[in-house]
Each structure stands twice: as C-alpha cells, then as structure tokens.
C-alpha cells in the first residue's frame, strides 16, 4: 500500500544558516512561534478575568475584600494554568497575576488607561521571557522523527497522536495510553455520577420509605462502600450482628450474594443467619453455612432455590439449636424430607415461615408439623400451592400459636366454618392474625374474632368481598381487645360496579369504629381499595383535631373519595406520620408536604410520584395548601 516513509513527504522550508543551526540543536522556530501565540491568547483571557475582578475591587471600599478577590483571581488564573501541565508556565503566570493584583489593589478609582499601559509592559515581558525560555526548552520533534519517551525512555516514532508527557516532552504510545487512562479516572472521580443512574437510586430509596433529608449515616455509607467492593473483602472482623444483617441485605439487593462473598458473613459465634436472596448459592454453600455456624438459632433463607434434601440432612446433623426457620422458595425439598425435618427438629422449633412452595409440601406435611412441633409459636404459610382447607382444620391443634399468617392459593376453597373453628380455638392466644385472600370467609369469622381474640396486636383481613360493613363495625364496637397496632384491610370491598345494597367490606361505619377503638395506639393503617368509605367519614376521622399520636404509615390508595382537604387533615391529625401512600386518589392535588413525611403516588404529571417534605412544619404546609385550593 503506502510504502512511503512518514517523513518522505515533509515539506522543507528555506535553508539558512540560522535554521540549520536551530535544527541541529533541535529547536524549531515554528514551534516557538506557535507556543508564544498560544500563550498570548491564554494570558489575555486570564488577564480579562483578572481585570473583571479588579474592576469589582474598585467598587468595593474595604481593603480586606480587595485582597480576598485579588487572591481569588490569582488562584483562579493559576488553576487554569496548572491544567496545562507545564511546570514553568505556572510559576510565570502566578508571578504575573500577583503583580497585577498588587497593582490593581493599589490603584485608585478610574485608573483604567494606565492599567492598559501596564498590561502592555507585561505583554512585552511575557514575550521576552517566553521566547528565551523556549529557546532553551526541548522542542517537540515533528511527526516522523524518532524520539525518546519521557517516562520509559524507549525510542519510538513521533506521530500526530503522540501525547504530551508531564514535563513537556513526548511519550510513547503505551505510556500515552496509561496517561489518558489516569486522566480519565481522575475526571470520573471528580465529576458526579451520571444523573440518570443516581436519580433512579434516590427514587428507589424513597419508594423503600427511607426519606433522605440530609445525608446518609456513616454506617450506611460504609456498608454501601463495602458492597461496592465486595470482591476484595475477605472477612468482616468483629462487627456486631446487626451490621452483618444490614450488609447481607445490601449484598442481596445488589445481587452479589454468591459463593465467593458468602464466607464473609459466616462467623462461628453468630446466632442468626439472614440471606435475603440466596439464589446464587448452591448445595455446598448451604452446607458451608451450617458447618461454620453450627450453633445458629435463627435461619432466614429467601429465594433458597437450591436448598435440597441433602442440605436438610446436613442441617439436621450439624445444627441442633435451630429455633426459627424461614425458608422461601425451597422447592427442591421433597415431602419425605420435610417430614424428617419436622420429626427431628420439630420439638425445638418455635417459628416456621414458609412461602412459595409449589412442588411439594401439602396437607400431610402440615400434619407432621402439627404432630411434632408442639412448641410452635409463629406460623406463616403463604403461597403454598398444595395446601387446602385441611390445613386450616389442622392448625387449631397447635395450642401455643401466637402469630398466625395464612394465605392459601386462589384455587382452594376454604369455608368459613374451618376459619371459625380456627379462630375459636387459637383466638385467645393470638397476637397476630393475618388471613389473606380468603374469599369465602363471611361475617361469622369476624364475629368469632370479636368474641375470642383478646390479645391481638396485628390484624389483617384482605381481599375479601363477602364480609359486610356491619360485621366489621360489630367487631370494633366494645371489643375486649386492646387497641391494635397494625391494621390491614386492603381490598375489602364489593367487586361489582354498582353500589351494593348493604355496604361490603371496610366502609364508613366500620372505619369510624376501627379508629375509635384503635386510634390511640395504631401505627400502621392500610385501607387501600376500601372504596366504600365516604368522604364525610374521612373528614370526620381526620379532622385535624383528633390526634393519632403513633400513626406512622397510612395507605389510602384507590379510595376515590379522598381529596386534598382530607390529606391536610391527615397531616394535622397524625404528628408522627412518616409515609402516606395515596395511589389513585384523583382528587388530591397541589399538596405541600411537611417536613419528614413522604407522600407517594400523586397522580398528576406535574407532581413527582413521590414527594417528600421540605423543611417546613405542618401548620405552614396546610396554610399553603389552603391558599392554593381556596
């Protein structure tokens, strides 16, 4: 192709004795001229910046400010100079600026012309200095010539792409690449993260309910940094268990909980192992957990997909202290193995929480639980596809049950009688009762709760369109139970379009009764989709005067009757409010959110989907809202 050498088509200018001499001493006149002109332009620019601030000095009268501004100008100019990596340059510029600043400081008002004169002098000085300096400086050889790399002293061919070295000479290609890499790394460290990625993270945090007014805690920052550098961590040392748990949560969230990072979390003296996403862990990793931490009492493994029979065997062999077991999605464990597990470990177990079991785990397995786990206090069976009404009938035999959470599959029919007998038997002991998606449950269940449950703290009945408003009202009227702390009645409403003859689900009367009964102690209130609650009812309950001192979380999504005044009332009535979720409330507009509250789900396009409180108090926020809505 091109077998012309790089230097072959170089244009040669006139030869004179001077140019020959310069060339022989590796000085290029053209180079000098270019450098000088470039420097002129830059100096001019800097001087304009310096003059700009100098004019401002003349306007101010105090000397201190003059000095400060001059200093700032000098610093700014010197900063610009530094970027150009010419060591001598910086010094010259600094001196010039300091001189200019001194002169400017001393000058009285209106002395513009003499300043120009001074600049001219400085021009000349500059020119002389620069020319002299460049005469003795090593000139850059033009492309095609050989040159020694400044960094590694290797010989290489100069090309138009050769990079400048730190002292003004040229560097070879590999060193040049390294320099650009370093420069880029510096740049990236200096600038902020791209706006899109950071905003998404901030929004994700907000939707998690963490309102970040101000900076994160130092622990949080460190934990995130550790998660970022998870590859390089060998062990966590002597940190308390809570830090381990938080760290494992973040690792799981970032999907870096894998066989390599797992050992970091295993310490022989831990009594709780909690892994929120064990999807990457295999059989050997589970075995490792039990080998390293044999005295573990509390096991939480979510998304434990590879948790197989042999792991259960190993666990039973090694760990004889397990009291609390939470396994989500452990679908590879077979029924006989479940039976073995409950037979051997049953008497010790106090907590069993199982979710997402499709392949195995049916009524017979529950039979085993009931037979062997006499001490069971906490039972959660959700989304286990094979269990039927039989399970509900078996549970009453667990006499010590304190916390019960059930959700059977959509396709199973569970009649009210079994639920009633369940509540009747276990009711007096229960502190938590959560019955999700029991579509066939009717008023008798709620009646049973009223009569038999006297210690409940947490109550959830959701996704039911059968139980009537009257029944709920009866539940909360003159109920022996102390005020509830956690209430969730989401999606209890009529599924048909027209208003039913008799109010279904949690409607106005029962909501009023609920707040009457539990308002003083309630922390968490979820009434999403309870669309039969009327506006008048909301206004009466959240009227701003009645105070609900502990209420921190409210979910009123899809309650169409809610509007802005009600939200204002909520802000006023709930001094401890942290989060208000209101998706699908189309009459709520122009909300001004007070300090410390996160409002999630605003429908209008102008409002952000989550807004959270600026630094204003509740009174002021309400005042502003009233002014807007009139």
């Amino acid at each position: 192709m091109s077998n012309r050498r790089a230097g072959a088509n170089r244009i040669r200018g006139p030869h004179s004795a001077l140019t020959d001499f310069l060339a022989a001493n590796n000085i290029s006149a053209a180079q000098i001229r270019d450098d000088y002109e470039r420097r002129q332009r830059e100096a001019e620019r800097d001087r304009n910046a310096g003059e700009g601030s100098a004019h401002q000095e003349q306007k101010d009268s105090s000397d201190d400010e003059d000095a400060a501004l001059a200093q700032a100008a000098a610093e700014e100019a010197s900063k610009k100079a530094k970027k150009r990596k010419r060591g001598e340059k910086e010094v010259i510029e600094k001196i010039k600026k300091a001189k200019a600043a001194e002169k400017a400081k001393g000058s009285k008002k209106g002395k513009k012309k003499p300043k120009r004169g001074e600049s001219d002098e400085e021009d000349d000085d500059d020119y002389d200095d620069a020319l002299a300096r460049n005469m003795y400086k090593k000139a850059k050889p033009p492309p095609g010539q050989f040159e020694h790399c400044e960094i590694c002293s290797k010989r290489f061919t100069v090309t138009p792409y050769s990079k400048d070295g730190p002292d003004g000479g040229l560097v070879c290609t590999p060193c040049g690449k390294e320099l650009t890499k370093e420069a880029k790394a510096e740049q990236r460290a200096a600038t902020k993260k791209p706006v899109g990625r950071k905003r998404r993270k901030v929004e994700s945090d907000r939707l998690d309910g963490l309102t970040h007014l101000g900076s994160k805690s130092l622990q949080q920052l460190c934990i995130e940094k550790v998660a970022q550098h998870h590859n390089q961590i060998d062990s966590l040392g002597d940190l308390p268990g809570s830090v381990y748990e938080r760290l494992s949560q973040i690792f799981s969230k970032k999907r870096v909980m894998n066989p390599k990072t797992l050992p970091v979390f295993l310490r022989p003296d831990l009594d709780k192992i909690a892994i929120d996403d064990a999807a990457y862990l295999e059989v050997d990793d589970y075995k490792q957990i039990f080998a390293v931490v044999p005295h573990v009492e509390h096991i939480v493994l979510r998304n434990a997909c590879q948790f197989k029979d042999e792991v259960v065997e190993y666990m039973l062999e090694k760990c004889d202290n397990i009291k609390h077991l939470q396994l989500y999605a452990a679908n590879l464990v077979t029924n006989p193995m479940w039976q073995e597990l409950f037979r051997q470990a049953g008497p010790r177990l106090e907590t069993i929480q199982l979710q997402w079991l499709d392949a195995a785990f049916d009524d017979d397995t529950v039979q085993d639980i009931v037979e062997h786990c006499a001490n069971l206090k906490r039972l959660k069976l959700k989304l286990c596809r094979r269990i039927t009404e039989e399970t509900v009938k078996l549970i009453p035999r667990l006499a010590r049950l304190v916390h019960l959470s059930l959700q059977v599959s959509k396709h199973q029919e569970v009649g009210s009688e079994s639920l009633v007998s369940l509540v009747t038997t276990n009711g007096p002991n229960l502190q938590t009762l959560s019955l999700e998606h029991f579509v066939d449950a009717d008023d008798s269940v709620v009646d049973a709760i009223h009569y038999h449950c006297i210690q409940l703290k947490k109550l959830r009945i959701s996704e039911n369109d059968y139980i009537t408003d009257a029944a709920y009202e009866a539940l909360f009227t003159e109920w022996q139970n102390p005020p509830l702390i956690f209430v969730d009645f989401n999606s209890t409403r009529c599924l048909e379009e027209n208003e039913p003859a008799q109010a279904i689900g949690l409607a106005s009367k029962s909501f009023a009764a609920l707040m009457n009964h539990s308002g003083s102690a309630l922390k968490h209130l979820d009434i999403a989709s309870c669309r039969h609650i009327s506006k008048a009812c909301f206004m009466e309950i959240f009227d701003g005067a009645t105070q609900y001192p502990d209420l921190e979380y409210i979910n009123i999504s899809f309650c169409n009757s809610v509007e802005t005044t009600i939200v204002a009332g909520i802000f006023k009535s709930c001094p401890a409010l942290k989060q208000l979720v209101a998706f699908g409330c189309f009459d709520v507009t122009h909300v001004v959110v007070p300090r410390g509250i996160a409002l999630i789900g605003m429908p209008t396009a102008q409002d952000a989907i989550e807004q959270y409180g600026m630094g204003i108090g509740v009174e002021e926020a309400i005042g502003r809202m009233v002014a807007v809505t009139g």
Partner: protein, 104 residues
C-alpha cells in the same frame, strides 16, 4: 442565649489511639450518639468537663474521616439528593467499626 458554663465550649477535642487530636465543633460532633452522651453534662462522664474524648480503638486516619463525615453531615443537613462522601475502600471496614461504635 450563649451558655457560659464550663461544659459548653463550642469546640471539643477528639483524640485517637495514636495521639492525633482533632478539634471540631460540638454541634457537628454530637451527630454521633456516643459522643453526645459522653459530653452530656448530666451523663456524669469526665469528658463533659474536659471536653476531650479519647478513643482507644480508633486510629488517627479513621478518626480524621469521621470528623470529615461530621462536617459533611452538618453541611448537608437540610438538602436533598446529597452526594455521598468519598473515602478510600481500604479504610472502609475500620470506618464501619468506628461508625458502629460511635452510633453515627
């Protein structure tokens, strides 16, 4: 109302285990629950009178970063979308232990 009691000077001193001393504002340091309690005049600790807190498990480099965090936190107290403070990853674990100890 400026308090002229001996125990409420505006600046306090934090001392690391290798002898480095850091003088920082009281308001910034009290972001740490532990330091706040140490300096509380009602707490009965001697630090409340001397205004000097000695930490025998935290070394100078880590303590310096901690002080930097205190000022960073106070500076961004009321703003949102605060950029994270930068620190070298090697320091991370010791800093985490210190943060946990200081409850900050």
């Amino acid at each position: 109302m400026r308090d002229v009691k001996a125990g409420s000077s505006e600046y306090i001193t934090l001392v690391s285990n290798d002898g480095f001393e850091f003088k920082i504002q009281r308001s910034s340091a009290c972001i740490s629950g532990m330091i706040k309690r140490m300096l509380d005049p009602n707490g009965g600790f001697s630090e409340s009178t001397t205004n000097v807190c000695k930490f025998s498990e935290i070394n100078g480099i880590v303590l310096e970063k901690v002080c930097e965090y205190f000022y960073y936190n106070e500076k961004h107290k009321d703003s949102r979308d605060v950029p994270d403070m930068d620190f070298p990853p090697e320091l991370c674990l010791e800093l985490l232990m210190a943060a946990d100890f200081l409850d900050t």
